[in-house]
Subunit: 318 residues, 2 copies
Amino acid sequence: MSLIDVKNVTTVAVIGGGTIGASWSAWFLAQGFTVRCSDPSAAAREAAPGMIAACWPQLSALGASGSADQALARFSVWESHLQAVEGADYVQENAPERLELKQKLLSEIDAALPIDRVIGSSTSGLKASDMQTGMAHPQRLVVAHPFNPPHLVPLVEIVGGKQTSEEAADWAVAFFNAHGKRAIRVRKEVPGHIANRLQAALWKEAAYLVQSGVASVEDVDLATSEGPGLRWAIMGPHLTFHLGGGTGGMAHFYDHLVPAMQTWWADLGTPVMDAALREKLVEGVQQEVGDRSIADLSAERDRKLIAILNVLSPDPQD
Amino acid sequence: MSLIDVKNVTTVAVIGGGTIGASWSAWFLAQGFTVRCSDPSAAAREAAPGMIAACWPQLSALGASGSADQALARFSVWESHLQAVEGADYVQENAPERLELKQKLLSEIDAALPIDRVIGSSTSGLKASDMQTGMAHPQRLVVAHPFNPPHLVPLVEIVGGKQTSEEAADWAVAFFNAHGKRAIRVRKEVPGHIANRLQAALWKEAAYLVQSGVASVEDVDLATSEGPGLRWAIMGPHLTFHLGGGTGGMAHFYDHLVPAMQTWWADLGTPVMDAALREKLVEGVQQEVGDRSIADLSAERDRKLIAILNVLSPDPQD
């Protein structure tokens, strides 16, 4: 079986029209695709076009051509996933994180879709191996996990299940990368894929430092965003340490700096997730944000994210 | 004892003229200070002005006024630390990371310097409590730990020792923040201060994922820089999760998402630092960088760092 050529994809089905589905829809529309979305909730179907329109100025700032209205002319929203997948060349599934529900949905989509089309799931918590058990063509299911917000953050984690073909996983990587995402292959099914594990590892120590009284919530946050965070937007931890090794690179780093690193590892902590820590974190964040609302902060984050993406892009938009 | 007014600082002594000392010197010059540097090595003294001049185009891009030559007219380099601290209003010490050496140096500087002046040490591995034991005025010693490269990265971690006064630590925070750094207070002396612990925590999991075969070195790096890393340049982990909690903020996050987080924590790993991992990391980084040299990569990192700092700045430079 050979899969549809990545270049021939014109129509994408987006299953689920909530926050993640709408954000994915906006991104697919910005790439020029026709998007067929589905959601069993009438309220979600009604809200979806407005959510997409709200994303559009951001996508325009990143180079999307045309107006929101022009994009929405390529968008339709359906009650049933079976209507959405009619004529779809790729399916992005964003149903609630319940295994039985996803299994049923994916089996039905699988039965309706030509066998040369790949199905990606946005799941952050479930395994492709478990979701694909009821599918007649399980080989074409991959996890295609975005990072919030999906229409802005380039990362997509591609994970195959036990029955997924190498071809389907490679196809998904090629498809996303052809359209400006940075898709990576996760080669084993582990909880949290990669990025959420890295976030969890960082926050574990961050919360521990707050709990231990080493620094305030705000100062731990600043110790990230005004220091290593600035570098992590540019390069990952290995490349960072390759440069930390001077002219000897990673080999020098490994031989000379790993001993210090291991001393620090030995001293890292695990916070106790009790009511006192909850209060400390909630109050600490409140002090940090002052009178900025969640909406203000999200807008600020997105504005800065777009600015960073544009300056890091080989072809910056103005 | 009251300390010199932050606004009255005109002259800074930088002890040690190596990579860190030269980078600090360049930054202090860019703030308009007169810089008196010292290094016992004649080769280091000869090299320092060139290293500062090499930093200057970067500092100009971040808004420093005047030419490198004009800045270097305010720079002098001496053999002895006692010469460097003559007339200094603040001292930034960057001697080799050996306790006895730092103790001797700091005691001598302390004896020579008016008592209303603060002394900061760039140490990443030593404690102020240990370094200040021989000083007649130990209350004025703080750790003022920069993040590499010091002339570009805003973070400065301020840590007091057992005998350090609150006043001196507050002074150091105010001094750096008055000149565009983001100084934070680390309230307990822990190995790695904060930022290096956070880096260590992230890399521990990153290296584990490579060792376990979950992903390649390059893909783990991309899973950082194309995902959470982009957000960490904008806000730290707590603020990130405050937004992850939707309209309920950190309280909602804590109540609803910490259970998933704890599942991930339970699955985080510790890499075995053996020869096989060393080879895997060295080869993986080699694949990732291709023919880009360490110098190319450093220049690329610094260029991107400056671009990000400028777009995140409330008053961007062009």
